[in-house]
Amino acid sequence: MIFYVLRRLLAAIPTLLAVLTLVFVIVRVVPGDPAVAILGDRATPDAVAALDAKLGLDQPIWRQYATFIGQSLTGDFGRSMVTNRPILTDVAAVLPHTIDLTLAAVLIGTLVGVPAGVWAALYRNRAIDIAARVLSLIGLSFPVFVSGVFLLLAFALHWRIFPVIGNANLADPIDRLTKLVLPAVTLGLVMAAYITRVTRSAMLQVLGEDYMRTARAKGVPWRRVVWRHGLRNAGLPVVTVVGLYFGILIGNSVLTEIVFNRPGLGKIIVSALNQRDYTMLQGLMVVYCFMIVLVNLITDLAYGFIDPRVKQA
């Protein structure tokens, strides 16, 4: 097991290098210049050239790349070109907020989506199934910037239960939890809608299998048949979707972060992209890539737990 984990982590190194190289190239290929973002619209070409030299952007591209890779390997991502703040400090400040939101959304999505999908499959084409399908369709159709504003109008403005500004004090667990509820529900319900559909379809396939009928014929209680034999066998696609969604949420929760005024990786990525903050983008991609590798690893380990045949393979 330990060797498997180590092997996977080692295998991630080339992926990480490839992603870093890609990011390094892409941010420099797209039009836009960090010096212009810093100096504003009155910057003369002379002033832009002077700042480019200070930022090291006048160096040959291979030298910039070598410096960047060298620094990355030592864990030094430097400073943001725009704010001049150390990148790791900024990332470390927002990362707990991103992890909170991602974990809470995945938890809500799974706890709501899996049972809803199972029930929908068990009561196929009946009221529960139709309700689950319609609700999941609504969940998938509603963009988070609409559902989020609705939730704010109801729970922040009308009933005043939660605040509109969601930048929690990390040292205060109650504040942290309070400010997590609405964004986590907003994101979690979208994920639940997706998981409901996947679970339903996987369960429908499993429910018709011979081993399910055999288990019933042997007198195993129906509840046990469904949750132990059925869901476990339907689990692989569900875990795949949860794992994929987990990865997507880490960087793609930007709209939720903006609507609920939460700090987060997604918001920093968008901001860095708008300002062509090369160093910040590079640093963020390393963190993002590392987290995706970690999530994929956990997903793979979960496969082995759900279906031992995967582990043997």
């Binding site: 810093i38 009155r42 700042l51 704010t83 703040r85 009933w159 509109v164 005024n261």
Partner: protein, 518 residues
């Protein structure tokens, strides 16, 4: 159970961890400001180029002189760190006498002439300032004694005091702090203003605290929390919910009308008006023909454009220089909307079936919707705008590479005609040249008048030259002025700025030692 009852039940379940609307209970000495921002940039005042940064650095720093709070009238410039000044007869040597007992934040001691010299030299250095071009005429800055600074100019400038105000490159920094903190100065700045930097949380907020040693007296507000709230809808909700006291608003009539209806809300609409112009690239066909450019000027319906944005926040552009700037004139022969004349001019120029122009434009929603109105107006005259909509940073780069036949651009500058005329219409500022700034039209119609006005010691003659420059630029149709958009903010009705807010060059309200909650 009804839906409402269910929601209330859910609310009750969360009651133990429920949010107590802190802003309601907060002591009235904490000011929470909601800004449309993801974050601030560099907090070094000489790099504060965005509205986000400009709004806040002016609360932390001082110039040698300042605009009277609530005003941006250059005639009302008053002493700030300098108590008095005099100039030589040829206006090339200026001597400033510093205020005694001005302290820097923290333990950086008292302000001396050495700090002022250092600050001005830094502001003029392209490696350490975004405003270096403004100081091109500076020859030498020296400390005569610890309380006196002398500035020697290579050439006269239209408003030296303007360069030394609490705006852009005019802010004074602590030499000791800049040298000690190095690169860290931009994230922990030291100034002399009423508020001092306390902390910054990336993506969340910038916190300032009052500076008890401020030379005009300790501020009544003890703490300012400058929150980064990029979503307009959420920022409005936060204001409505009492979580912020002062909010950056939208330059839009619907927003103004809606916000005015909120209980205890006061909407402030103030100067400067950001002038939006349509620069016509005279180096490209068919815009090299003045008849085509004139046709465009006649096809633009300015009253319609201003109405689209809103009566309270927008007014018609009246010249190629914003209304109210020193040297502005509305008597410039600007063509008024006349569709028949526009079509006739196109026919005369050899385009009876109209023309199509490729225009690079930003995808920023506010700018895009305005440009789409212009597009619809010009279409009536047979002028088709093929909009190439790109991401905002790309737009800035492409228009500076001279890749667009037309450039839609909004800006506010120091309120004298020279700055606007030089940056947008002098051939020296033509994009694509080493000294290029924002002359997107390749205009050179009034170079002689702009240069002559710079050296003209007689103010009346100087103003006359600027007015003549406007007439020549309008006659050549280098650009078509569209509308001017004012600044819009909202505050709680118990927040008193301590002055009457008519204008603010930082584009946000000035928070001074006198600002307080009633």
């Amino acid at each position: 159970m009804t839906f409402r009852a269910a929601l209330l039940a859910a609310a009750a379940a969360f009651a133990p961890v429920a949010f107590a609307p802190a802003a309601h209970a907060a002591p009235k000495t904490t000011l929470t400001v909601g800004m449309a921002a993801q974050d601030v940039g560099r907090l070094d005042p000489h790099f504060a180029v965005s509205t986000i940064d400009r709004t806040v650095v002016v609360w932390m720093f001082n110039g040698l002189v300042r605009f009277k709070p609530g005003s941006m009238d250059p005639q009302l410039i008053e002493p700030d760190l300098a108590t008095s000044w005099e100039s030589s007869a040829d206006k090339k040597v200026w001597t400033f006498h510093l205020r005694q007992g001005v302290k820097f934040h923290g333990d950086y001691g008292a302000l001396t002439a050495e700090d002022v010299v250092f600050s001005l030299q830094k502001a003029a250095d392209p490696k350490r300032s975004a405003f270096s071009a403004d100081f091109a005429a500076f020859d030498k800055v020296e400390a005569v004694d610890p309380a006196t600074v002398r500035i020697m100019l290579k050439d006269t400038v239209p408003s030296l005091l303007g360069l030394l105000t609490n705006y852009s490159g005019g802010f004074n920094v602590s030499k000791k702090a800049v040298e000690k903190l190095g690169d860290n100065y931009a994230r922990a700045p030291i100034g002399t203003g009423p508020f001092a930097f306390a902390s910054i949380a990336a993506n969340q907020s910038l916190e300032l605290v009052s500076f008890p040693g401020y030379f005009r007296g300790a501020p009544k507000i003890e703490k300012i929390s400058y929150r980064f709230l990029p979503s307009n809808a959420s920022r409005d909700l936060a204001f409505q919910n009492g979580e912020i006291d002062l909010e950056y608003g939208m330059q839009d009539q619907t927003w103004v009308d809606r916000t005015r209806k909120i209980e205890h809300a006061v909407v402030d609409v103030f100067e400067p008006g950001e002038l939006t112009t349509l620069s016509l690239n005279m180096s490209q066909k068919p815009l090299d023909d003045v008849r085509v450019r004139r046709a465009i000027a006649y096809a633009v319906n300015r009253p319609e454009l201003a109405k689209f944005q809103g009566k309270d926040v927008a007014r018609e552009g009246q010249s190629v220089v914003p209304v109210g700037y020193l040297g502005f004139t509305a008597d410039n022969g600007l063509p008024q909307f006349d569709l028949a004349r526009a079509k006739a001019l196109l026919t005369e120029a050899g385009y009876p079936n109209g023309i199509t122009l490729k225009v690079v434009h930003t995808q920023l929603p506010s700018m895009l919707s305005q440009m789409q109105v212009v597009q619809a107006e010009l279409k009536r005259a047979g002028i088709i705008l093929d909009l190439q909509v790109v991401e905002h940073a790309t737009y800035h780069q492409m228009i500076r590479k001279d890749l667009s036949s037309m450039v839609y651009y909004s800006a506010a500058r120091f309120p004298i005609a020279d700055i606007y005329l030089t940056q947008f219409f002098h051939s020296r500022s033509t994009v694509g040249t080493p000294t290029g700034v924002t002359n997107f039209s390749h205009c050179n119609a009034a170079d002689a008048e702009i240069d002559a006005a710079r050296h003209e010691p007689d103010e009346k003659k100087q103003v006359a030259l600027w007015q003549e420059a406007q007439r020549k630029i309008v006659a050549q149709v280098c650009a078509v002025p569209l509308q001017e958009t004012l600044q819009a903010w909202v505050r709680r009705d118990d927040l008193d700025y301590g002055y009457d807010l008519k204008g603010s060059l930082s584009l946000g309200p000035l928070i001074t030692e006198a600002t307080h909650f009633k």
